[in-house]
């Protein structure tokens, strides 16, 4: 499997509050994570970093498990994300400079032909193949809640002024509900994890076209960043693109 991990500060922001990481535990369990921090300077960036590190640390603490089942992975996903929540919440409670910081998370664990996706907030996971691009996560945002309740149409939601309001985030409460789902994987499928700096700026058609193009995975990832920058780059842009079909060695790019 080949994974490409890209992050760009964008054109406006002074700090990159996004964090991302790909890797594997014991060459067994491959993971990818994207976190989009919030809470202002020296808080949002800290929140997303703490989230990514806590997530990785929890995975490493479970490296003695050798035969991963889907149930294990689902459980681990919840534990790791809730641990991140706890650590960020504690910092924000006890240190005034981190008051109210938080982050989103979208993470994937790969088990044979299955992928376990966990998320909180408005960072997204997509499955992409020649035919279609499919959103695997449901944003925990005000706008999405309004769409689900029939108050807004999808088009109205796309340019809604309050897209920035989340209904769930990591680190803002003492516990958090994590959405976890398991996806069957076909060989032709690609997985995209991204912060809203990409998904808010680049249309789904553009995402799809770019991701199924014939360039190398790195070039496709770079082009996605370019598209988001071209569309304004108001926010930090972070993405992880995974090609399970790529038989070259497991490796990470950053």
């Amino acid at each position: 499997m080949l994974m490409v991990n890209r992050s760009d500060i964008g054109r406006i922001r002074q700090v990159n509050e996004d964090s991302s990481l790909t890797g594997s535990i014991n060459d067994q369990l491959t993971f990818a994570i994207v976190a989009d921090g919030m809470g202002g300077h020296q808080a949002g960036d800290v929140a997303s970093q703490v989230a990514v590190e806590a997530f990785q640390r929890i995975l490493q603490q479970h490296d003695e498990i050798s035969n991963w089942t889907v149930e294990d992975a689902k459980r681990l996903m919840r534990i790791a994300i809730r641990q991140a929540n706890e650590e960020i919440y504690r910092l924000s409670k006890h240190m005034t400079q981190y008051h109210n910081m938080g982050t989103t998370i979208v993470a994937a664990l790969f088990i044979q032909s299955l992928v376990v996706i966990g998320h909180v907030g408005d960072s997204r996971a997509y499955r992409i193949n020649e035919e279609k691009l499919e959103l695997l996560t449901e944003d925990h945002s005000l706008v999405n809640a309004l769409v689900k309740s029939g108050q807004l149409t999808a088009e109205e939601a796309e340019h809604h002024p309050r897209k920035n309001v989340l209904t769930r985030a990591i680190g803002t409460d003492d516990d958090v509900e994590v959405d976890v789902r398991v996806i069957e994987w076909n060989k032709q499928d690609l997985l995209l994890l991204c912060s809203d700096g990409l998904s808010n700026r680049v249309s789904e058609e553009q995402l799809h076209q770019t991701i199924v193009s014939s360039q190398s995975l790195q070039q496709r990832a770079d082009q996605l960043i370019e598209l988001a920058l071209h569309a304004g780059g108001e926010d930090n842009i972070t993405l992880v693109l995974c090609d399970m079909n790529d038989c070259s060695d497991r490796r990470e790019e950053s």
């Binding site: 800290v46 400079q97 910081m101 309740s149 309001v165 989340l166 985030a169 249309s203």
Partner: protein
């Protein structure tokens, strides 16, 4: 912050509140000798320039308001990274406290409060300022009963960065108008809706919509009916209910035209002839079910939508245009195959003419060759030498041999910047006739002179540029990407193409990754953080904390296992990742320190009425610490834990209703002499025996608190007796 002297003018006295965005302090304005409230922006926003400018702009707008029911803004300023707003200080309570304490309020009082809020809104709206966050917390009621609305427009400042609807926002969402919840154009009528909710809450004691999450509440504002006020509290006159029903309409068009119109209605609603007026009806009561449609909002939303629709089509169009252009470009590349064969040149300006000349020449040569071929059929001994300059080696050989000529071997090969590799640069004879079988010398291009690229990794950027310029490479052909790295700034970390590769100095593009030195990041302020939090944070940020660098010492001020101070880097100092940090951590109070339980028993100034009590104390931990002020309505015991050490004495001073009552000093050696307490009695409304007697005679009538205490006291006495 407390004790800080802001702008050499405002002495911060105590903290009186705080929200998600700012903390509010009571302060003394030294210049004008008056109390003020200072709102200080929270630390995490101080580097967000966009936010700061919005915050200041909104504050300045609100400063333009001048009205008896609006909290005046005196000053907006900045001192280093402290951004603040100085406002009128209102002695009293906010409406939320009053609602919590005693809602439902008297109808007259509620209407009177709503009227004054309306007056404030009318003034603001006339100045084109929408409040956007009307809620009881933002409505202050002075001790004189005057209503003052605060925080005009400030809510707007906090809308750009990602936020969650938890914590501080929960308070606001109960008062959000449907259009606000939906996120579209909030206007003057949104403030009226929020005021309707506040009025509802004042007269019923309930919120019209509640739910377990902010989102479910927001959705209820959009689509649910609420329990009508008179169902909750039948004492509410119909006229007042009508006002609430009208201001809380989901469709802004159904609400009052303006704050002024609502105020006029509030002014007369309690006149006797209006109390039993008929219940208000709305023409489109179907609308109650169909609130989802909300015509006004829809209309503008659709308008928005059309706009964005246009933008998006534009985008697609642009995108497909680019696609088309690049398609055409690639077609061109394919037709001009000759171009493909020639490596790119640094100066492409005259490439085209050259090709045209070459192609023309080739064409002419072919014509000539045909011509001479024709001549050949007449003359046999002499042949015209074909012109082969510009032909490829293969074509030239073929043409010459077809002409019956030979090529002198080996051919001369010369490097050339202009002629692509394998093309004929020159021929020894041309445009002459020679004997059949004669030898022609050819000079063939070996292509541009290639050079082997050296290794530049670990060299410095400037030396590398000089070395490459010496090779004939232009600076524009070099690309440098700077990254953070532990090596010194300017060190080359990677190069493409790699060392040893043959390159053409004229058109090679070399990219380098260059170190810009180690990343500098600000050291967090760890003071008072718990050690485990400090560990997580330092590890996350990439700093190093080694066990031997943690030292423990006793402290009066910092609680056990929290950081007293940090060493090696000051808070907010920009330092390299990997910097080692030393920490001094509290091991708790020094061993000689003793906790000491002190008790203040205090009664209200006059029994049966309420009094505000303030207790200020000093002990080994510090001077002039203050307990949260509290309001008492009967005799209470206020326990206070003091920390004593041999060097300092502790003092406790008590103020009741702003009048200093008593001060007590406790020394270390006093600890052994039993417990201490301070008793501050109040006045009885009617003449009664001494307070001590009073406690016994009226014990049964007093509140639980005191009763319990008396019981203790009695049992203490019993215990004493048994000891004796």
């Amino acid at each position: 912050m407390i004790g800080h002297d802001l702008a050499s003018r405002y002495e911060i006295i105590s903290r009186i509140g705080g929200g998600g965005m700012a903390l509010v302090y009571k302060a003394h304005d030294v210049l004008l000798n008056r109390k003020v409230a200072v709102k200080v922006l929270r630390q995490q926003f101080v580097n967000d320039e966009e936010f700061i400018s919005r915050f200041r702009r909104e504050a300045q707008n609100a400063a333009a308001l001048s009205h008896p029911n609006v909290v005046s803004i005196y000053d907006v300023g900045q001192e280093e990274d402290i951004h603040y707003i100085v406002m009128e200080y209102v002695e009293g309570h906010n409406l939320n406290e009053i609602i919590v304490e005693r809602a439902p309020l008297q109808i007259e009082e509620a209407v009177h409060i709503a009227q004054q809020i309306c007056d404030a809104l009318d003034h603001a709206h006339a100045n084109h300022i929408i409040h956007r966050d009307i809620k009881p917390h933002n409505i202050l009621i002075g001790n004189n009963g005057r209503v003052k609305v605060t925080d005009f427009g400030i809510a707007r400042a906090a809308t750009s960065s990602k936020i969650t609807h938890t914590g501080s926002v929960v308070g606001s969402v109960h008062y959000f108008s449907p259009e606000h919840a939906k996120g579209v154009n909030t206007g003057e009528k949104s403030d009226l809706y929020s005021l309707g909710i506040v009025l509802y809450q004042m007269v019923t004691g309930n919120l019209p919509f509640f739910g377990e999450s902010p989102i479910s509440i927001a959705l209820k504002h959009l689509q649910d009916d609420f329990e009508e006020p008179r169902v909750v509290n039948s004492h509410i006159p119909q006229s007042v209910e009508n006002i609430i029903l009208k201001s809380m309409r989901k469709n802004p068009n159904d609400r009052y035209e303006s704050a002024r119109a609502m105020m006029a209605d509030l002014e007369t609603c309690l006149q006797p002839h209006r109390l039993y007026e008929p219940k208000i009806t709305f023409n489109d009561d179907i609308d109650m079910q169909e609130t989802k449609v909300m015509p006004a909002i829809r209309a503008s939303a659709t308008h928005n939508d059309m706009n964005t629709g246009t933008v998006r089509t534009g985008d697609t169009a642009r995108f497909s245009d680019t696609a088309r252009i690049s398609d055409t470009a690639s077609v061109m590349m394919h037709t001009g195959r000759i171009v493909d064969e020639e490596p790119q040149k640094s100066s492409g300006g005259w490439k085209k003419p050259l090709y045209i000349v070459l192609i023309t020449l080739v064409f002419l040569a072919a014509l000539l060759w045909g011509f001479f071929k024709l001549l050949d059929s007449f003359k046999t001994e002499d042949v015209q030498v074909p012109y082969v300059v510009g032909d490829t080696e293969e074509v030239a050989y073929k043409k010459l041999s077809e002409a019956g000529l030979n090529v002198t071997e080996p051919v001369t090969r010369e490097t050339s910047k202009l002629i692509p590799k394998g093309q004929v640069i020159a021929q020894s004879k041309m445009q002459v006739k020679v004997k059949e079988g004669a030898y022609i010398e050819l000079t063939i291009s070996a292509g541009p002179e290639l050079k082997e690229l050296d290794n530049y990794i670990s060299s410095m950027k400037n030396q590398t540029i000089n070395a490459l310029i010496d090779l004939g490479i232009q600076e524009a052909q070099l690309d440098f990407t700077e990254v953070f790295d532990d090596s010194p700034a300017g060190t080359i970390l990677e190069q493409t193409p790699p060392a040893g590769e043959e390159i053409n100095p004229d058109n090679v593009l070399i990219s380098f990754t260059v170190s810009k030195g180690p990343e500098l990041i600000p050291m967090p302020d760890l003071t008072e953080a718990r050690l485990r939090d400090a560990r997580v944070l330092l590890q996350t940020l990439g700093f190093v904390l080694e066990e031997q660098d943690i030292s423990y010492e006793p402290s009066y001020l910092i609680e056990k296992d929290s950081v007293i101070s940090q060493g090696n880097a000051e808070p907010n100092e920009m330092v390299e990742k990997g910097t080692k940090v030393t920490l001094k951590v509290s091991s708790g109070y020094p061993s000689e320190a003793k906790n000491y339980q002190f008790n203040v028993r205090i009664s209200p100034a006059v029994h049966g009425s309420s009094s505000e009590v303030r207790i200020v104390y000093s002990d080994a931990r510090g001077d002039n610490m203050e307990l949260d002020p509290r309001t008492i309505t009967s005799t209470v015991d206020i326990p206070l834990t003091l920390v004593l050490d041999p060097e300092t004495k502790a003092t406790v001073s008590v103020t009741r209703d702003g009048v200093f009552m008593d001060i007590k000093e406790i020394k270390y050696k006093d600890i052994s002499q039993g417990s201490h307490e301070m008793v501050i009695p109040g006045q009885e409304p009617t003449p009664t025996p001494t307070p001590a007697d009073d406690a016994f005679t009226h014990g049964g009538e007093q509140d639980d608190n005191t009763e319990a205490f008396e019981y203790d006291e009695q049992s203490d006495q019993q215990a004493n007796t048994t000891e004796e």
